[in-house]
């Protein structure tokens, strides 16, 4: 075949200076927009928040440096202490239930049956519908006077007089926990289902042939293989729940009598509601050590999995 010297490339003498051919320059260029946005609206606010929490700024009043006074004040605040306790309780209880129910649902879904795709699609609805909107539906269901839950319990003969779900501190907390579990179970179920589907059914069959009972098959084969996905899902959920705001804000607004506050709702009430910006910032930042710990655990875990 004759050389058709159409391409002028062969004789191009010196390479043009193309910075983007250098991986380092290309990487820098591609990362720049992300770095700018995250720097401006995550890193900067973080430092700003730390500085703010060390002053006595209020809305409209530029404050002066007061050191750790805000943190000291918050520490001695009984509502804050309740909020800390609530946050841990709320996170712990919901996570246990979400994991257990989510795993159960995932196992129920990990079979072939008619309409499986449809069921799976519908199951995720609580997770995709905006939290505030679905929480309003729950709040309406928990309404003291018009509660459908009360009606059902009454008709079934469990109760004889109304239950004021959101008026009693313990019941209010329980209600919030129920709604959080309701919203979180789909996420756990679908993620764990994806994890289950990566486990070859041949392993189950091999274990069955080796004489393992169903429970043993789950405990010795499925669970260890599912553990990495489970860890990640749990840690994600823990962070989300720990820093939750919308659900409590809508359901109780922290009430009754400030009994159901979490870090975030209390920070909002103090910082935005009463305008004590610096104190609100301090309450938000008080979450940081715990979040940091969770993130570190997660990073260490991921690293361990990767190097294994």
């Amino acid at each position: 075949m004759a050389v058709t010297a159409v391409s002028g490339v062969a004789n191009r003498p010196i390479p043009r200076l193309r910075r983007l051919e250098d991986e380092r320059w290309l990487a820098l260029t591609l990362l720049a927009p992300t770095a700018i946005l995250l720097g401006l609206f995550i890193a900067y606010p973080f430092f700003e928040g730390v500085l703010l929490s060390l002053t006595n700024t209020r809305v409209g009043i530029e404050g002066g440096f007061v050191g750790l006074k805000n943190f000291e004040k918050v520490w001695n605040d009984s509502i804050f202490r309740t909020a800390v306790w609530n946050t841990f309780w709320y996170t712990g209880v919901t996570t246990v239930f979400k994991l257990a129910l989510g795993l159960w649902l995932a196992i129920l879904l990990n079979r072939h049956f008619r309409g499986k795709a449809l069921v799976r699609a519908f199951i995720l609805l609580p997770f995709i519908i905006p939290t505030v909107l679905s929480t309003f539906a729950w709040k309406w269901m928990f309404d003291p006077t018009f509660s459908v839950i009360n009606w059902t319990l009454f008709q079934l003969g469990f109760i004889t007089k109304r239950i004021n779900w959101l008026g009693d501190p313990d019941l209010a907390m329980a209600s919030i926990i129920v709604v959080n579990i309701w919203r979180g179970v789909p996420f756990f179920a679908i993620s764990l289902l994806a994890g289950l589907q990566t486990i070859s059914p041949e392993l189950q069959e091999a274990a069955a042939i080796d004489g393992a009972r169903p429970w043993q098959r789950f405990w010795y084969v499925t669970w260890p293989l599912l553990l990495p996905v489970t860890m990640v899902v749990v840690l994600f959920s823990v962070i989300q729940t720990f820093a939750d705001f919308q659900l409590v804000y809508v359901m109780t607004g922290g009430g009754p009598a400030n009994a159901t506050h979490l870090f975030a709702t209390y920070a909002y009430q103090i910082g935005i509601g009463t305008g004590l910006l610096s104190e609100g910032a301090a309450i938000s930042l008080a979450m940081f050590p715990f979040l940091f710990l969770i993130v570190v655990v997660q990073l260490l875990y991921i690293r361990r999995v990767e190097t294994r």
Partner: protein
């Protein structure tokens, strides 16, 4: 799978599954039925004799009409839509490029930067909303859509980046090497070869980001003040509750209508959404 007798299947699988589905979907049913129920039925105490919770014989559109006539609901919808769409586009633009750089290029501190983005992925909005409100104010963005369009990417970009890294890592390196030998620059190889191949991943990230934006609440609550600027979740919360009085009919109508766009987007792209969800938790 190993299956047993029919009754076992019902007891251990079908009945629990039906219960799960019922409980997970019931609040939505409640939302719908409330939307179409007249006030007279709505505010009938639960222990009243003619309380008929699960059905209504007198459906009405009053609550929906109230929403459109007495509030700026359609404005809220448009605001939410625009903010969610624009912040999703921005986040995809940034996240796809960043994910590509972190997954495919060798450069100093790549590992450190990857970790940094992962960490920001885990920063909840509630940690920074107060100082961020101050910054928004000092940039004179308060009470404008821009306050959300620029801040939503802070939680969307890390998610998109993380998801896209996973997708890009799964694409054989030879594809872009071949493109580069074929005469494409690194940048062109990315645009013409890798991005088209990664379209399913980009769709997943986009849909997920869209639903996350639609769901966002605290930034919108803090940064926006005038009724005309609000998003659906904030508008419904602040305009349909007056002190202690809840306008339950319009509230549920707002919740229902406000959920519909997300539900539609979701129903068209369930598979993408699910793969986005499961991709986001892959370590």
């Amino acid at each position: 799978m190993i299956e047993g007798a029919a009754w076992r299947r019902w007891v251990f699988y079908n009945i629990p599954l039906i219960l799960f589905v019922f409980i997970l979907l019931f609040p939505f049913y409640w939302m719908i039925i409330t939307t179409f129920r007249p006030d007279g039925e709505l505010y009938r105490p639960w222990n009243a004799a003619n309380y008929q919770p699960f059905w209504t014989n007198n459906p009405t559109l009053d609550h929906i009409l109230y929403l459109f006539e007495e509030t700026s609901f359609e404005r809220w919808m448009v605001n939410t839509m625009v903010i969610a769409a624009v912040s999703t586009v921005i986040s995809l633009f940034c996240g796809v490029f960043a994910g590509y750089a972190l997954a495919r290029l060798n450069f100093p501190y790549a590992g450190g930067l990857g970790t940094a983005i992962f960490v920001t992925y885990l920063v909840p909005q509630t940690l920074l909303f107060i100082p961020l409100a101050e910054i928004i104010r000092s940039f004179r963005l308060g009470d404008t859509p821009w306050s959300l369009i620029l801040t939503y990417p802070t939680f969307l970009i890390p998610f998109c980046t993380w998801l896209m890294m996973g997708y890009f890592k799964a694409i054989p390196k030879e594809l872009e090497e071949c493109a580069r030998i074929d005469g494409a620059s690194r940048f062109k190889a990315m645009i013409y070869i890798i991005l088209p191949v990664a379209v399913p991943g980009i769709m997943s990230a986009g849909i997920f980001a869209f639903t996350l934006s639609w769901n966002e609440f605290i930034y919108a609550l803090v940064f926006l003040s005038s009724p005309e600027q609000k998003t659906v979740p904030v508008g419904v919360t602040s305009e349909l509750i007056r002190g202690d009085v809840f306008f339950w009919g319009p509230l549920m109508a707002g919740a229902l209508l406000g959920s519909i766009p997300v539900a539609i987007v979701y129903s068209f792209f369930v598979e993408h959404y699910v793969s986005g969800l499961t991709g986001s938790v892959k370590g």
